[in-house]
């Protein structure tokens, strides 16, 4: 192999411009792969992590049923309304039985309703989440997202509320202690005090939610002792779907895992991943064509050299390996340079401070800087480089030296 390496490296070193162009092509593909993967997976992981932390891993809620129109013949009723049996009967007993499950870490009841908050001349429709301040931290990591960590205030101050930061922003509230009017769907009103703000980073949650004590909401809605949601936290979040199916068999209410609740987002992520990897694949394919083109050109230019190498004892395998080694080295150098570029770009993107507003809100780009992306990039670039050099190398190895000598 020494003779193969001797010729291959010499050709690479002496044809600097061509080598550099090939290496740059691969490195662009590799850095694009690393940066796009870390951005995309970073964003998705962040979103999923926030959801897992804030949202129940499993939610039990009343089933939505159609109104009981009885027609002899099926008819389509446009605008048909859903009737909600908006409560869970025996919710305390259900919670007790769920707590015995070995994979359940915590269970909490909730009463969820719509409402309107009024502050001065401004008002905003919100989702009211009546929670048990003692039980809730066991079933979600709500405290992590509270700016002043004042969850316990909901126990002592029954008229205390915790506002999503975007709800507060819409109403023009910037500090706690402000008083505002809460209007329930039944027309009842209550003067409430802002005790804290929570910021999950997920726009549609921060822009709608208001937490308050479940007992306060029960009395406001005149639904004493009622709950319409049970939230469950489990040890292994990836088993939520399986456990929810098990619960469904014994609980006469709808049991929904976080994966099912966010299935639309997860489907979008899959599509997003597919599109991103298709783009990266296209970039790597273009760089592979660059390698193919350059090695093919080299083979065509160096027919005479290949012939004399064969005359002096190089085998067809040697010739094949010379050009395959060239492709491999270009892929390797491209991967190394691309990794350095990718690392630099990651550092740069991480250093940028800007308000990202969208599905999630952050103060900059959320990156997943897993070393696995570098490993995958190395494997892909070597694979593409070897694939690209295979055909020209094979063509070179099949040259007949006598034909070349005769043609001179």
């Amino acid at each position: 192999m020494r003779h193969v390496a001797f010729v291959a490296f010499k050709l690479l070193l002496e044809r600097k411009r061509q080598t550099l162009v090939s290496v740059l092509g691969v490195s662009i593909g590799v850095s694009a792969f690393i940066v796009m993967s870390s951005l995309m997976i970073g964003f998705q992981s962040y979103f999923i992590q926030q959801v897992i932390d804030l949202e129940p891993h499993i939610r039990i809620k009343p089933r939505e049923e159609r109104t009981d129109f009885m027609f002899e013949e099926p008819v389509l009723v446009l605008g048909e309304r859903l009737k909600e049996k908006d409560k869970i009967l025996g919710w305390y007993e259900i919670m007790q039985s769920l707590e015995k499950h070995p994979e359940v870490l915590g269970v909490a009841p909730r009463l969820v309703s719509r409402g309107i908050l009024k502050y001065g001349v401004k008002d905003k429709p919100v989702t009211l989440l009546g929670i048990d301040p003692q039980r809730e931290p066991k079933a979600s990591i709500i405290e992590k997202f509270l700016i002043h960590k004042n969850l316990k205030k909901l126990e002592t101050n029954r008229t205390g509320v915790i506002l999503g930061v975007l709800v507060a922003k819409s109403l023009g509230i910037q500090e706690k202690g402000k008083k505002l009017l809460l209007v329930a769907p039944n027309g009842q009103t209550l003067l409430v005090t802002v005790e804290d703000f929570f910021e999950s980073g997920i726009t549609n949650i921060d822009d709608a939610r208001v937490y308050l004590n479940i007992k306060t909401l029960q009395s406001l809605l005149d639904r004493q002792g009622e709950a319409n949601e049970i939230v469950v936290k489990i040890g292994d979040v990836n088993r939520a779907e399986k456990i929810s199916r098990d619960f469904q068999e014994i609980i006469p209410y709808e049991v929904e895992s976080w994966q099912r609740a966010y299935r639309n987002f997860l489907s979008i992520f899959k599509i997003q991943n597919t599109i991103t990897y298709m783009i990266v694949f296209a970039i790597l394919t273009v760089s592979a064509f660059g390698i193919f083109n350059i090695i093919m050109m080299t083979v065509l230019e160096k027919k005479k050299d290949i012939a004399i190498l064969m005359a002096m004892g190089f085998t067809r395998r040697d010739v094949l390996l010379i050009f395959m080694v060239e492709g491999f080295v270009v892929g390797l150098l491209g991967a190394l340079l691309g990794s350095v570029l990718g690392y630099g770009l990651q550092e740069y993107l991480e250093s940028i401070k800007l308000d990202v507003e969208g599905l999630i809100r952050t103060k900059g780009f959320v990156l997943d800087r897993s070393p696995l992306f570098y490993l995958y990039a190395l494997v892909f670039s070597l694979f593409f480089s070897l694939l690209a050099s295979l055909y020209p190398s094979y063509r070179a190895s099949r040259l007949n030296p006598v034909d070349i000598f005769r043609s001179q």
Binding site: H3, F6, V7, E14, M312, F314, R406
Partner: protein, 219 residues
Amino acid sequence: MKVVELLGIRKVIGQEEILKGIDLWVEAGEFVAIVGASGSGKSSLLYVMGLLDKPTSGEVFFEGQRVDFSGEKELSVIRNQKMGFVFQFHYLLPEFNLLENVILPAIKRGMMKTEAQERAYELLKRLGLGGKERRKIYQISGGEMQRVAIARALMNNPSLLLADEPTGNLDSKNTRAVMDIFKEINAEGTTIVMVTHELDLAAQAHRIVEMRDGQVVRA
């Protein structure tokens, strides 16, 4: 001892019979010149003799052993270790300097680079190229290029040197220089088979083989 022996060699390309049943052998230490008009089959015969081309029929013996043309590796080993080639065009690799061009067959053979370089220095010096070892091909003259090609052919100390019109591109001064080198290495024991169409050069060989229309008419 016969270095190479050809028995009933025929070579057909397409519809054309290039070599028509050639019987020929070359003794060790001989300097044989193959002459003939253009298209007479001289080069084709040399390619068969150099195991670069498989004959359509017939047998080739090298140092007494019958050559099996189906084993590429064995053919490569013989070409690398027992033969040297010099062509009308030098076929030097432009990316390599003189020294690197010359050591290539030795590196292929498995010789250590330092050892190969020592021998290459000696050869280049002997062929009048001392001090130019690190030069690139484009930095030397045509005659010097051909001498580098001869040094490369001699690198593995071959028993048979095959030369196809080695002076075809050279002026008379360089032609003389190349012929002097050939005679010198032949005198040291290397068997040489040289294809040429120049009769005055052929006359300097021990034996002249004349070809006409794919046949040996004088051996």
